[in-house]
Subunit: 322 residues, 2 copies
């Protein structure tokens, strides 16, 4: 038996960092996908190879390398295998269009695609179970994941997330726009940036509390604008959100350069996305201005991704019973 | 009779734009000065020459060119002449270390120096009167001036200004720091930027109101830190203030580049100053890191000014009775 599943990555549209203090964040699925091809094999081994990481590793009950970068994928595959009560081994090939460690939910997309592909060998997939299994794998990758990445990759579309209160689905109503992402080439450390912001907020609480309040109202306004298809408002609010992120100290020269290059080339809005201190920017573009913005960003960034907004989460692309 | 007076320029340390909505701004005198050399001459003409503008113009009761860029200086000189009941003519030479039209209060410094030099021909200068006369000249230059520029140029030091509520003096207690300013080379239009911010605020009031609140608390915290000599706090609050200005849409690629170059080279804090959309950045530097920051900025800006904070306002530098 063989099955192939794919799952989208995500981008944080607004609210990163502020989410740590209980403010809402909006995550959106983008149509850069991870893909898992799964075949049953004799024995009980699960062999996983990643085309992008150029590694292959075999896991058996007697020999589990918990330090392997593929260990979380093994966990997803093994939990899914138990779910369908499969006793055979698995051969899994992973490919991904998502840049790794860029805050685009690459690891979750891989786990979601893997869990779905394994389950599809015997059952119709249940999204709740797929997301839950991927969440277990995410715990290995991130320690204390928010659950945003596995949720958005499983269901697609966009969600409003509030820490401790879970997810609200946003009914996207967007036409003729795409996201464009560009990498500063500067590696980011989420933990370091979160600690830096915590320190600044502890020192200047009275000044920054209203900034957090602004971020909260802003995220709710963006959610409304996404449902109404008001792309001008989304863009302008992204720009404001970038300023708030600059105020809490997570922007850099390289991020600002990409942000303003995108805006100056005609993007509706542009901001850093994710932890900051490096990493990526995201710009919202009308499709007619995409080539212009892409050209501008490519002059400065080696990795520019056009990312259509993906209403579809995980999908089973192929299934055969041999 | 001859006298020479000089008066300092200013920089807005924090609070620009937010001041329009009634929030406090802090202005600080910097030791880049305008200088007026005044001599009495026969007749009733007032002849003014500006070394920097390379123009000279004569004003007499019968012939007043109200369109001359020197007309505001004439108004300051003439009001000061009336104040001391002088009936002779005047020959006035203006020099200035301040970049014109850069938001550094160059026109006010020229008017303050001129009024003081004229009054000094016969009387001990009264700062209240000097400032008032310069304010009349400023009305010609700016239409509806806030009064910040003539006040800070007359008295020196730093002030906290709230629209409609006037000025509060800040007792500066700073050691071993200087300001460094760098020009983007992009001309700014204060009117345009104020209109842009007004429009954004009208559209996104609920999101931006807390940003204005943050700016208000921030300015008060900066005032305290200036009195306590807490330069680390001043720098960090300048950085936060820059983010708030980014949020209201008045930053640009060129401003961000200079801001981050200054910060990366060791400035305690750096932000755009004044209207934005172009114009200058200001950085607070410990004196030991000044050369480093200056070098970094000079790679990108043709006009970099080291500006010591000036506790002294207008001064009479020279006076002779021939």
């Amino acid at each position: 038996m063989k099955s192939i599943a794919s799952a989208p990555g995500k981008v944080i549209l607004v609210g990163e960092h502020f989410v740590v203090a209980g403010k809402p964040a909006i995550a959106m699925a983008v149509n850069l996908r991870a893909r898992a091809t799964v075949e049953t094999v004799e024995g009980d081994r699960i062999t996983i190879r990643s085309k992008e990481l150029k590694i292959e590793e075999s896991f058996s009950p007697e020999s589990i390398n918990t330090r392997s970068p593929l260990y979380p994928v093994y966990i997803a595959a093994d939990l899914a295998r138990r779910h369908i009560s499969l006793e055979e081994g698995l051969d899994i090939t992973i490919t991904s269009e998502l840049p790794p460690a860029a805050g685009m939910g690459s690891s979750a997309a891989v786990s979601v695609a893997t869990a779905a592909a394994v389950i599809a060998l015997r059952k119709k997939i249940n999204r709740g179970i797929v997301s839950k299994i991927a969440f277990e794998a995410e715990k290995i990758v991130h320690g204390k994941p928010s659950g945003i990445d596995n949720t958005i990759s499983t269901y697609g579309g966009a969600i409003l997330y509030v820490k401790g209160k879970g997810f609200t689905r946003i009914n996207l109503n967007l036409k003729d726009v795409a996201l464009i992402l560009a990498d500063t080439g500067v590696p980011r450390s989420t933990g370091e940036m979160v600690a830096k912001v915590r320190k600044l907020k502890a020192r200047y609480g009275s000044v920054l509390d209203p900034v957090y309040e602004s971020a909260e109202i802003l995220a709710c306004e963006v959610a409304k604008a996404l449902e109404m298809g008001d792309i001008k408002t989304i863009g302008e609010l992204m720009n404001i959100n970038h300023g708030l992120l600059s105020a809490i100290g997570v922007s850099t020269l390289e991020l600002e350069q990409l942000v303003y290059m995108a805006r100056n080339a005609g993007a509706l809005g542009a901001k850093l996305t994710g932890a900051g201190g490096g990493g990526l920017i995201v710009a919202l573009c009308h499709k007619k201005s995409l080539p212009n913005v892409e050209d501008a960003l490519k002059k400065f960034s080696k990795r520019v991704y056009i990312a259509n907004i993906s209403k579809r989460g995980v999908i089973i692309e192929h299934k055969t019973f041999l």
